[in-house]
């Protein structure tokens, strides 16, 4: 399809915006000015002020001398860009790809390829844009051409027609001044000095000559206007590839209604995903309410999936968060993140059960969707002896152990997060205690095993080593005790209870 671009030029963007907010200024000449190098430079001029001979780039003091009743308003940095972004988002109704003109921040580009027939042709399309913006209070000039550069030039400098027929843009550019090429001031001065007042006078020159005189950027700009060089288009809103919309005739208020809407959207979306071999990783449901509010809920899955019942269950957990108020008129379901899905072979019988079982993964998704992913923990062995660090948190469900689990030494089934200090009585140094008092109860040790010395990992933290003893009291209850540090007179040491054996 041949590309077509529209350039919209807001001639007095700031002034128009101010007039919409304060209509009483319509008869008063006013300008916007921003400080620059210690002077107040005019950045926006109203129509009344233009007729008195005031232009952008003048000093505010000079302008006041020209026109005594001039009102000077403060301009904020970035205000034009912000206004244009808002206008650009409004313009998405005309084309999905809208870009702010970042050379001279006073216009927009629209990629309108394949859009104009919806408005009954290119002429009607342009007319619609101009009249709608005018009715809002913005005076604009528009142009349509085969390249953004040409459209920009015609919108600002064209005198014949805003609508350049396909392929005719080169011709229409010839009579325009070099300013129409979006060139920096220094290049323009050079061109004027050489007597190039029209594009016609240099467009036929050899490229090497032009490059030597004016640099590579000049050639790029020329090429962009002629349509031979590419122009980078960064759209305001990236179009979402996987999106489904469901407008409702009647506003939806009930849970059943929302469930039906979700399942219908999911069916369409999953069919598209399946056809392209993709699976959903994150889903975003946006509900537009009739009172103008927007409600959003999102889900995430741990693996790419396009199973409707599973995704529906995940959304079902979130329905409580949707407040329909007076009703929802439009549901939009997006899949901002999708992944390739491996086509699984259809099996006649169920596969081997395990962690990668589909039903287990779906369970984890549901739990993560309701309570958050930090609820779920799984451990893989770590090659370490220090009990608190002997297992690592697994990153994902597919995380496989890299080392063997240590099974050579007995470990308690229950481990206290923080070892509890206990009082002990030990007869001989380095022997297990005779009895110990834990939580006010005295346990006399009948049998014991140990010690098992575990050194601290000195490269991670400082402190004493631990001598672990496995002890059994008179009731048969088994404990894991340790002495922190060496047994000795001067040295400090303390006994702790660290766990319970089965």
């Amino acid at each position: 399809m041949p590309k077509r671009y529209v350039s919209i030029w807001f001639r007095q963007l700031l002034a128009d915006w101010q007039l919409i907010r304060r209509p009483e200024l319509s008869d008063v000449p006013f300008v916007f000015a921003a400080p620059d190098h210690g002077r107040n430079i005019i950045t926006g001029v109203s129509q009344v002020a233009v007729s008195q001979g005031i232009e952008t780039g003048m000093r505010a003091a000079d302008a006041k001398a020209l026109c005594p009743g001039l009102e000077v308003l403060d301009d904020k940095a970035g205000r034009s860009a912000k206004l244009l972004k808002g206008l650009g988002e409004w313009c998405i109704r005309y084309s999905p790809i809208v870009m702010v003109d970042d050379f001279s921040v006073d216009g927009l580009f629209l990629d309108v390829s394949g859009c104009t027939h919806l408005w009954g042709g290119e002429r009607k399309y342009l007319k619609e844009i101009v009249s709608r913006l005018k009715s809002k209070g913005y005076t604009v000039r528009v142009a349509m051409a085969d390249s953004p550069g040409a459209a920009w030039a015609i919108a600002r400098f064209g005198k014949v027609t805003p609508l350049i027929a396909p392929g005719a843009h080169t011709e229409s550019l010839l009579s325009l001044p070099p300013e129409a090429l979006r060139l920096p001031e220094i290049t323009l001065t050079k061109l004027r000095k050489l007597g190039f007042y029209q594009i016609r006078s240099f467009v036929g020159m050899p490229r090497s000559v032009l490059r030597r005189r004016f640099g590579e950027d000049f050639l790029t700009r020329l090429g962009q206007a002629l349509g031979t060089a590419d122009e980078l288009i960064t759209p305001l809103q990236l179009p979402v590839l996987f999106q489904e919309r469901l407008p409702c005739l009647e506003p939806i208020k009930t849970r059943t209604g929302i469930e039906m809407a979700i399942s219908r959207l999911l069916e369409h979306l999953c069919l598209r995903l399946q056809n392209e071999g993709k699976g959903l990783r994150t889903g975003l449901l946006t509900c537009y309410r009739i009172d103008g509010e927007v409600v959003q809920v999102s889900i995430g899955t741990s693996g790419a999936t396009c199973s409707v019942p599973h995704l529906f269950k995940l959304f079902q957990l979130k329905i409580d968060q949707i407040r329909p108020a007076l009703g929802i008129e439009l549901f939009v379901l997006e899949a901002p993140k999708v992944d390739e899905i491996l086509p699984g072979q259809e099996a006649l019988w169920a596969g081997k059960p395990g962690l990668d079982d589909q039903s287990v993964i779906q369970l984890l998704d549901r739990v993560a969707g309701k309570m958050g992913a930090d609820v779920i923990h799984r451990y893989v062995p770590a090659a370490r002896y220090w009990p608190e660090r002997s297992a690592n948190r697994a990153v994902s469900i597919t995380d496989k152990p890299t080392t063997e689990w240590h099974i050579d030494r007995p470990r308690p089934t229950e481990l206290l997060n923080k070892p509890a200090p206990i009082e002990v009585m030990a007869l001989i140094p380095d022997h297990p205690p005779k009895f110990f008092i834990y939580k006010g109860i005295q346990h006399s040790v009948v049998k014991a095993d140990g010690p098992e010395r575990i050194e601290r990992e000195w490269w991670l933290d400082v402190g004493e080593h631990r001598d672990y003893y496995q002890v059994e009291d008179e009731l048969g209850q088994r404990y894991w005790l340790f002495r922190s540090g060496h047994y000795g007179g001067e040295q400090r040491y303390q006994w702790f209870l660290h766990g319970f054996f089965a």
């Binding site: 009990p387 697994a394 308690p412 229950e414």
Partner: protein, 245 residues
Amino acid sequence: MNAKQELVNKLQQDILLWQGFKPQGTMTEEMIGLGAIEKAFPNGVFPRKAIHEFITVLPEHSAASDGFIGGLLSVLMKDGAACVWISTARKLFPVSLCTFNVEPDRIIFMDVTLEKDVLWIMEEALKCEGLAAVVAELNELSLIESRRLQLAVEESGVTGFILRKDARKAISTVATARWKISPVPSVTEDGMPGLGFPRWKVELTKVRNGNPGSWILEWGGDRFVEALPTLKTAAWYEHTERQIG
């Protein structure tokens, strides 16, 4: 007389069948390795499609129950299936499950703050057929909640274990079996010094359609081993009912 006995047996079998106990075809496959304890259950088979309740008042008891469940899990998870362990204040040390022939990396822990969330996850997990078992540390469980869990179990066939701290409220659930596991002094071979294999007093205080009882059981490294009943007369017996707190 003989005919009458046969009739009674037949009727008993029928009642069990109506209550959802299917006669097992291959007995050896279904054995869980509990030896004589399995005789206490209807049909002499450990019920897998059921909720088992463990009463643990002291931390020592919960450690013993964890070990006992670990031993059961080693059989239930033999085919490589995963297990979910839900708790609000987990103290279980994953590494220790290696002692009971369970790979700790096949256990998915879910740590939540509310009992209500534990119940929700447990019901969802019990409906998930890809799991071997679900263990939940719960204190509050009403009759209706336990019935919901039982229904979920009957549909999927996942074994459910509930560890409860409060013994007084134990009456009001529909659990198939209620256990109490308490540690018992271990015995070493030939009176060698040190500790022997973990040994427990396994009390089955309630079995639906079965016979409650009490046994001494030892984890023999790779399977449960029944210990000699003579140990019942040991000194620990007087202390089992002591109160702490």
